[in-house]
């Protein structure tokens, strides 16, 4: 079937730059797909996660401190009463992702969703009569979810049942995911990072997705989540008063990742001296402790007593001693460095277009970045306008996160977050929990593995079993994948032996797996 270019571009806009097509999305943007993308840029369409538990970072950390205080009291009371408690404190139910090696349990959670497809039909799925009457086992007490995990789940729910469903295309949401992975933190670091992992993305990434890179960088490197994750609150200027008092010195962790991952890139031309120098520059960047001696507990503070005194040299430039401003000036310089532009351009092009993107495209993005002083709206626009971005070949494989979101969008499902998080875990992309500060891989090889495909098949199967009541597979693929469909996929879906199998094939088809 010959497709008009606009129809194909509409499908590409939704899958390559967006979150995947919902019912009606293809038609809605088919008259001007690129225009629709640029409209999301112009309108700064980055949905805001909403929910009662989604508080600002300092409040969340305060609540965490109170929670930990209460835990401690309970432990002490029990110890006084002579009741032994297991190591690690009060018994807690398992929380998502904090138990590496429990893949089976996570998988069970992934696949035992009690959610419904297509929200409005919820409850009629099995033709049940009167719901709500208690049955045997229904009154079992629900396990208490510890506070950090409760917030983590609420943040996840705000995405999987919220922000991903709002936009027509979702370019901004995709970019938020891209930048959050670029500035990766991990909830596995501990409860202090887990409880604010969502706040980190809400406060440092989303406001700047179509803003200036320098603003995003500064917000990220001063956020408690990043300072905790990369240990900067433990870094002391060796010659600072606090360093002298406590016999403490530098921790280079954050400084190294700023240069290697966040800005210049591993081949960006910096030396070990630059790393050490930047580490000195950002000493004193820390988080107010629970006693609140330096300000509001849980908020960022420049702790002058821990700051290494003196001028510092970074990449050949001298940064005069100026307290916090010294570090701010260094970051602003890094944010507009040509190596940073090249690094980010390469990553963006590789994420959206192909593992080995055309150099013409990378050059365009880098030039735009330099010419606009890191205006990410301009860079995003350049990406959308480049002809290299619109190759009809689907070169990328959706990451597990993108795959899960595409299924949720395509079916309209707004489940509880646990099954989604379990699915991400078994597919190798535990939510907000990459194995290192370099984030999750962005290469096809990382995801198109035998293990990965097996997990995708099982998850596609569960989603399809639920969806079989609501969708006719041939219609489903026309409205979600339409112009991208091969005749082989149409045939495989149409010939499936049941609606559920047809949907599973649709989810597993190359056109759905790729983008």
């Amino acid at each position: 079937m010959v497709q008009s270019p606009d129809r194909i571009e509409a499908a590409l806009a939704l899958s390559r730059f967006g979150l995947g097509a919902r019912q009606g999305d293809l038609e809605a943007i088919s008259s001007d797909p690129r225009g629709a993308l640029k409209e999301e840029i112009a309108n700064r369409t980055v949905p805001s996660p909403a929910g009662e538990e989604l508080k600002p970072t300092a409040e969340l950390l305060n609540d965490l401190y109170a929670f930990q205080e209460a835990q401690k009291e309970m432990r002490e009371r029990k110890a006084a009463e002579g009741i032994s408690t297991p190591a690690g404190g009060v018994p807690q139910p398992p929380s998502s992702g904090e138990q590496p090696g429990k893949a089976d349990a996570m998988k069970a959670e992934a696949l035992s969703s009690s959610s419904s497809m297509a929200g409005e039909k919820a409850g009629s799925a099995a033709g049940t009569g009167a719901p709500g009457t208690p049955m045997k086992g229904a009154n079992e007490p629900k396990p208490v979810v510890p506070f950090p995990q409760r917030v983590f789940l609420a943040e996840a729910k705000a995405r999987f049942s919220g922000t991903i469903h709002a936009p027509r295309i979702g370019f901004g949401e995709r970019l938020a995911m891209f930048w959050a992975n670029h500035f990766a933190i991990s909830a596995a670091k501990g409860p202090n990072v887990r409880v604010i992992a969502g706040a980190f993305e809400r406060e440092t990434i989303r406001p700047h997705v179509f803003g200036r890179f320098a603003d995003m960088l500064l917000a990220v490197e001063t956020h408690p989540a990043m300072l905790f994750y990369l240990d900067n609150q433990q870094s002391f200027g060796p010659n600072s008063p606090a360093g002298q008092n406590r016999k403490r010195g530098l921790n280079e962790n954050l400084a190294r990742e700023i240069l290697e991952l966040h800005t210049l890139g591993v081949n960006g031309g910096y030396t070990q001296d630059d790393v050490t120098s930047l580490a000195r520059i950002i000493t004193g960047w820390t988080v107010v402790g629970r006693q609140g001696r330096l300000g509001t507990p849980g908020s960022f503070v420049f702790f002058a007593n821990a700051h290494e005194p003196g001028d510092q040299q970074l990449l050949g430039n001298i940064y005069a001693e100026a307290g916090f401003e010294q570090g701010k000036a260094a970051l602003l310089h890094l944010a507009r460095h040509p190596a940073t532009a090249a690094h980010l351009a390469q990553k963006l092009a590789r994420h959206f277009v192909s593992d080995d993107p055309p150099s013409a495209l990378v050059d365009k993005l880098a030039k735009t970045f330099m010419a606009t002083d890191g205006d990410l709206a301009a860079v995003s626009t350049a990406l959308v306008e480049a002809k290299e971005s619109w190759t009809p070949q689907l070169a990328k494989v959706r990451s597990p996160l993108e795959f899960s979101i595409a299924i949720l969008r395509a079916t309209g499902a707004k489940p509880e977050p646990q099954p989604v998080l379990g699915g991400l875990y078994v597919m190798g992309q535990p939510y907000w929990q990459p194995s290192g500060p370099n984030g999750f891989s962005d290469l096809v090889d990382a995801w198109a593995s035998p293990e990965g495909l097996k997990m995708r098949m099982d998850i596609a199967n569960v989603a399809a079993t639920k969806g079989a009541d609501y969708f006719d597979p041939p219609d489903f693929i026309e409205t979600r994948l339409g112009p991208l469909l091969s005749k082989e996929t149409r045939s495989a879906v149409g010939r499936a032996e049941s609606r559920a199998q047809g949907l599973a094939i649709a989810f597993m088809s190359p056109e759905f797996q790729r983008r």
Partner: protein
């Protein structure tokens, strides 16, 4: 009321991700036709069972020529099991053969629903909804039948309502969905993707996506992904062990004094376009194992039980180019249980000559599956013929209940 491993707990219900079967939760004596506490189970075989391989017409002179490489024989290795001199049974079904000899199983051959096209989706709609046309998917005939059944006299209305209120479900087969409350259950173990899915994806990827094909191939080769070519026990509804497990779970609940009385299950994987011999041998063995599991777990209730096994349509009378068969029309249904008047093959055999085949390709259908279902409903469950024609199988006034299927 407690079962050791299976009880309709909230956990099991919420965990019913695969939603493999469900049943109406009817109190004791509610289905007490002729003073009997009856059980009725419907098993849907998704994908279209090849009735000519399950129950082969060995006595038909045209059978071998049509089936060629996939024909079964009366003698030699893997010989078919004799039934009545004309028909024989697939060798993977020794339990069914034993029950047949014991008068507790019968075959209905050359039967079909009202559907005469060849789409699985639409065919399953018609089979399960009970309507003559596809697309009516709000409720299934089994559920509407339950609504119309006479209420048991020994149960106070208040108590009955309370029991019905227990109903929760995730994904029940359409046949039992509808206004009557049903309780869902699935094993706590999650259902993995069916073996057949991997094969279909391999076929698609090999045509369209070498990269994904390579990964999938590697997964299959290293045993990470099952394809039905191995015997890995995987527990899903398209797996022999899974079928037995599901049947045993259903039977344990049906056997309980105040447990459910009517159940529906769906087994998958019957769409045998290629390599039919090996695949059907596995699947039919699974179905046969399910019969044995029902018999064993139902215990004393087996004598009051009837299990109807039906599929959306049959397959082509001729073998195709890949040692399989394509979508057709007439096929077999099975009726098993202690309440069944068995030991016979019920068939108005249409013959297999070119002119006797439907469209020159399919086994013709001479028995309406609705007649069988209606007959069971009347004789086992005391359903009224009027309700059956009006509400359960709308438009079936001319399809009379097949009487005498139940002892």
């Amino acid at each position: 009321m407690q079962c050791e491993t299976i009880s309709p707990s909230r956990r099991a219900v919420l965990g019913a991700s695969g939603a493999l079967f469900a049943w109406a939760f009817m109190p004791r004596h509610a289905l007490a036709a002729r003073g009997r506490d009856a059980r009725f189970v419907t098993i849907i075989l998704r994908g279209a069972l090849d009735g000519l391989t399950a129950v082969l017409p060995l006595g038909d002179p045209d059978y071998e020529a049509l089936r060629q490489s996939i024909a079964l024989h009366a003698e030699g290795a893997n010989a078919a099991l004799p039934l009545d001199g004309f028909f024989a049974l697939h060798p993977s079904m020794p339990n069914f053969a034993r029950l047949f000899r014991a008068g507790q199983a019968c075959v209905i051959h050359a039967c079909a629903t009202a559907y005469r096209d060849r789409s699985h989706f639409d065919g399953q709609d018609v089979l399960e909804s009970g309507y003559e046309i596809p697309g009516k998917v709000d409720s299934g005939w089994l559920n509407r039948m339950l609504i119309g059944l006479p209420k048991g006299e020994k149960v106070a209305p208040g108590a009955a309502e309370k029991v019905i209120g227990l109903a929760v479900g995730a994904n029940a087969p359409l046949v039992i969905r509808g206004g009557a409350p049903v309780l869902g259950w699935a094993p706590a173990t999650l259902p993995p993707a069916g073996d057949d899915l991997a094969l279909r994806l391999m076929d698609l990827y090999s045509q369209r996506d070498p990269r994904l094909a390579h990964a999938l191939q590697e997964g299959i080769a290293t045993g990470k992904i099952a394809t039905g070519l191995d015997n890995a026990s995987r527990g899903g509804p398209g797996d022999p062990e899974g079928m037995k497990h599901l049947a045993a779970g259903a039977a344990k609940l049906l056997a309980q004094p105040d447990g459910p009385r009517v159940a529906a299950l769906a087994f998958e994987g019957w769409d045998t376009h290629a390599q039919e011999i090996g695949r059907l041998a596995r699947l039919l063995a699974g179905l046969d194992g399910a019969f044995a599991a029902f018999e064993q777990e139902l215990g004393p209730s087996w004598k009051d039980t009837a299990i109807l096994v039906a599929t959306e349509f049959g397959r082509t009378a001729r073998v195709n180019g890949t040692e399989g068969t394509d979508h057709g029309t007439g096929t077999t249904a099975f009726l098993v249980g202690g309440a069944v008047k068995g030991g016979r093959v019920i068939a108005d055999w249409p013959g297999l000559k070119e002119a006797q085949l439907r469209d020159g390709r399919d086994l013709a259908a001479t028995t309406d599956l609705r007649a069988i279902a209606k007959g069971i409903a009347v004789d086992l469950l005391d359903a009224s013929a009027t309700t059956l024609s009006r509400d359960v199988f709308p438009g079936s006034e001319r399809v009379a209940p097949a009487r005498g299927l139940i002892i």
